[in-house]
């Protein structure tokens, strides 16, 4: 595996600018929990000054991988190279805990097993009383921790959209990469994508063999598992002859569009160029040509880190929301909601602090609904409101557009 991180760490000037943007440092003020500190830890590992320990693992896992620091780094350090190497190092030197390992290696690559595992757990769920607007205490499987998260869907998105509608003269044919959260929990987001695109005369297919994008395994340094998943996804999507691939998950989009270029090499480029976040796609291909009747609710937008800081996408989802609702901006829309992966388990207290800030921003905006473009953020923010019995709803921006389109007429012929 690459040794490029060893030279990358030398680029860091130790100026400290990452202090200003790191959402974790904002909460802790701890130099070991900010890019500059983690880079110095990588340097110390390289120079054999330190070894992998539990403590070190916690500092490595304290990174949200929002990549905001990379965007602003005046020395041009590609922090992702360094944090990925640290995660890989943790996995190689300390091993991956058994349960995640079994899931990454044996369950994620096998859709039927994954379905069964979750189905069993959803059966067991029924014995736990329903709480707070469909949010319930989940079993410690993939989404471990003391979280209020939604119940699993009875029918997954892949099952539900096995045979999507064939359009007569579609202007484009696109594939939907669902991602795990949308496939198993937020099937309604997938439904909104299919519905909206169909209304714009775009045919949608949901390729059946697709698997998890690989983020959970790569974020625990299990490169091997991630590569295996990437290779299956390549086969599934390459063979479809699609005009474009869309995803409603900011993290999945980042992974399959950008990380796969590293995992799969330059041959992925032609496909990668065709991958879009759903709002990005609508903005690019449908532009202004659809008519909506905006819903009356006040809607604000939360920028998912992987969409804003990695891909620089912020206007596109706002454009969709402005056309579909009574849009209001919130302050600090781009600050992390605290959700996502292993971080929320190891650093639960920090997750909560970040969530609190986000919830406060949303409340200050006066919005009735917060929309975002990532099911992970939806889950996290909904968790924040469920915890305090708030009336503010959390949703995906495509669902707002879906409602606005249901209200109005579509001008298809333009």
């Amino acid at each position: 595996m690459g040794e490029d991180w060893k030279t990358e760490v030398s680029k860091c000037s130790k100026c400290g600018k990452c202090h200003t943007v790191c959402p974790v440092f904002l909460e802790t003020g701890d130099e070991a929990m900010v890019s500059r500190g983690r880079i110095s830890l990588a340097e110390a590992l390289r120079d054999q000054q330190i070894v992998y320990t539990n403590k070190l693992r916690d500092y490595v896992y304290s990174c949200k991988k929002c990549m905001r620091c990379r965007k602003d780094c005046p020395s041009g350090v590609d922090y992702e190279i360094i944090i990925s190497a640290l995660l890989r190092g943790v996995a190689e030197n300390m091993g991956i805990p058994l349960l995640p390992k079994i899931i990454f290696r044996y369950i994620l690559p096998r859709r039927i097993l994954f379905d069964t595992m979750l189905k069993v757990s959803s059966k067991i769920q029924r014995f736990i009383p329903m709480k707070k607007r469909g949010q319930m205490r989940h079993l410690p499987l993939l989404f471990m921790g003391k979280r209020w998260i939604p119940t699993l869907a009875k029918k997954t998105a892949l099952q539900k959209f096995r045979n999507t509608k064939k359009l007569k003269n579609p202007r484009m044919r696109v594939g939907l990469f669902t991602g795990c959260l949308i496939n198993y929990i937020y099937v309604d987001i997938a439904e909104a994508v299919v519905d909206v695109l169909n209304k714009m005369n775009i045919e949608v297919v949901v390729p059946q063999g697709q698997l998890c994008c690989g983020t959970p395994s790569s974020s625990m340094g299990d490169v091997k598992s991630s590569r295996k998943l990437a290779e299956v996804n390549r086969k599934v999507f390459e063979s479809q002859g699609l005009d474009a691939i869309v995803s409603a998950c900011a993290t999945c989009t980042k992974t399959i569009k950008m990380d796969y270029l590293r995992t799969l090499g330059p041959s992925w480029k032609p496909i990668s160029d065709k991958i879009y976040d759903i709002s990005e796609f609508i903005y690019k291909y449908c532009g202004e040509e659809y008519e909506t009747k905006p819903i009356e609710e006040k809607v604000t937008y939360h920028d998912p880190c992987h969409l804003l800081w990695v891909r620089g996408i912020s206007d596109e989802p706002r454009n969709v929301l402005k056309k579909s609702s009574n849009f209001v901006e919130m302050d600090m829309a781009g600050s992390c909601c605290g959700g996502g992966g292993i971080f929320t388990i190891i650093h639960y207290d920090l997750t909560l602090k970040m969530l609190e800030r986000k919830v406060a921003s949303i409340e200050r905006s006066g919005a009735d609904t917060v929309a975002t473009n990532c099911p992970g953020c939806v889950m996290q923010i909904a968790d924040g409101f469920a915890g305090k019995n708030s009336k503010i709803k959390t949703t995906h921006s495509i669902q707002i557009l879906q409602r606005a389109l249901a209200n109005g007429n579509i001008n298809r012929e333009k």
Binding site: S13, G16, T20, G29, D30, A32, S40, A44, P74, S75
Partner: protein
């Protein structure tokens, strides 16, 4: 090494959760923006002045070095624990205690980030001018300890001009107050001024009272590109000496500095530019527009290739991002740099720059020059790749430059402090007798020499 019982005593007094002896934390608190590294034995993160006081008195009892640290963004090694011991991370003491708009003062804890303070007082239309390049992440405590200057020094002076009063923990654990929360005070010796810029070698600030100014209504920004350094320097003379303008900032960047950021900032810098001036003026709406247009004319009279006037705050930010990015961007050229902050009498700037470029050629080491040129200040950055041979010639080159700077009446440091990176050169500027007086003074406050040892003096 710190003995187990001392460790326990520290934990008992400041709380185990604030004392770190694991190697990972020690690594993360071993450096500052000089990239120099020395492992501390412990990192302590106090939350109150009592924590600071007990930590220091325990350290004093057992002769353990104390290295106070703000955000670790300094450029002279001030926060690097060169003799080991305890790094006292003051980042958690970050409260703005009181903004007194009527008195034009603000009192803060040392860990407040400079920019956060500026933003907070600006809400009340008040102004804290000193603004180092790292203002967004450096702390006030660090700024006061190093007496930082920054971008607004031309018109508003440096940190020392704004520190009115200090609460200081001394090495014996006692707490003293210097100065008053008044805009003037001359009772007794000026201990406040003595502590400002003392680089953590005398005591630790736990409260700092700063002077504020009314916030100027508007800032105007203009950037001007020149085909050579002479044209740029002529422009600065035209502005300050011939036309009697007092800009808020008057910044200069040379070709190496420009090339380091070219393509990485949103500012499109034309090819063939060998010098850049970035000028801010402030005041009321009318005066700013007026000054900017006059300065633009002066730039053109001095053969500027192109001038750019910022029309919006965003455009201002883009122009300033270029300037602020230069220092860290130089690491794109090579992995190491020595960051100098000389200052010479204004009239000698031309001479010094000429000499520096000559010496840079002789020693085959690239030098970037930029800085607060209006004040005769220049950041000379020597850029090189790691290696013994390079280290040796870098050292020779620095010595030569500093010698010449002092000989024409300049200073070896004007805003970064001496730290340990320049301690060997202090004898160029100060006589043995003067150094002796300073050392005696330090001994009075810190008889055991536990406060930031290895800094300022060899």
């Amino acid at each position: 090494m710190i003995q187990a019982r001392v460790f326990e005593e520290l934990c008992d007094n400041v709380g185990r959760e604030n004392v770190f002896d694991n190697i990972e934390e020690r690594v993360c608190y071993s450096f500052d923006a000089t990239k120099e590294k020395h492992l501390p034995d412990l990192v302590i993160r106090p939350h109150t002045k009592e924590h600071v006081s007990t930590t220091i008195s325990i350290a004093n009892k057992y002769n353990i070095p104390i290295c106070p640290r703000g955000a670790g963004t300094g450029l002279s090694g001030g926060a690097v624990p060169v003799k080991g011991g305890i790094v006292l991370d003051l980042k958690n003491m970050d409260k703005i205690i009181e903004i007194n708009a009527k008195d034009l003062t603000v009192t803060v804890e040392p860990g407040v980030v400079t920019k956060d303070l500026q933003d907070e007082v600006a809400r009340l239309r008040l102004f804290y001018p000193p603004e180092p390049g790292s203002a967004e992440f450096s702390t006030i405590g660090g700024n006061v300890a190093e007496c930082t200057g920054g971008m607004t020094g031309m018109k508003y002076g440096v940190t020392r001009n704004y520190v009115l009063a200090l609460e200081i923990v001394l090495p014996d654990g006692s707490i003293i107050n210097t100065g008053r929360k008044t805009l003037r005070s001359v009772a007794g010796y000026d201990l406040t001024r003595f502590f400002v810029g003392s680089e953590g070698t005398l005591g630790v600030f736990t409260r700092i009272t700063l002077k504020l100014l009314p916030l100027p209504e508007k800032i105007g920004t203009i950037t001007s590109y020149f085909k050579n350094i002479d044209d740029a320097l002529n422009t600065t003379d035209s502005i300050l000496i011939k036309s009697h303008f007092l800009p808020r900032s008057l910044e200069f960047v040379d070709k190496t500095g420009i090339d380091a950021v070219r393509g990485f900032t949103k500012e499109e810098i034309p090819e063939g530019v060998e010098a850049l001036l970035l000028i801010d003026v402030d005041g009321n709406e009318k005066s700013v527009v007026n000054d900017i247009s006059k300065i633009e004319v002066l730039c053109k009279e001095n053969k500027a290739l192109k001038t750019l006037v910022a029309k919006t705050d965003d455009e201002r930010k883009i122009l300033w991002d270029t300037r602020r990015s230069i220092s860290p961007s130089l690491f794109r050229i090579a992995s190491m740099k020595f960051n100098d902050d000389i200052c010479v009498p204004r009239s000698k700037v031309r001479e010094v720059l000429k000499r520096v470029y000559e010496l840079s050629k002789t020693y085959s080491i690239q030098v970037a020059a930029f800085g607060h040129i209006g004040e005769g200040h220049i950041h000379l950055n020597l850029i090189y790749d790691e290696g013994k041979a390079a280290d040796l010639s870098v050292h020779k080159l620095i010595s030569q430059i500093l010698k010449e700077v002092v000989s024409i009446g300049g200073t070896i440091t004007s805003e970064h402090g001496v730290g340990d990176t320049k301690s060997e050169f202090i004898g160029l500027e100060l006589s043995p007798h003067e150094i002796e007086i300073m050392k005696e003074l330090k001994k009075m406050f810190d008889p055991k020499g536990i406060m930031n040892p290895g800094k300022i003096f060899v």
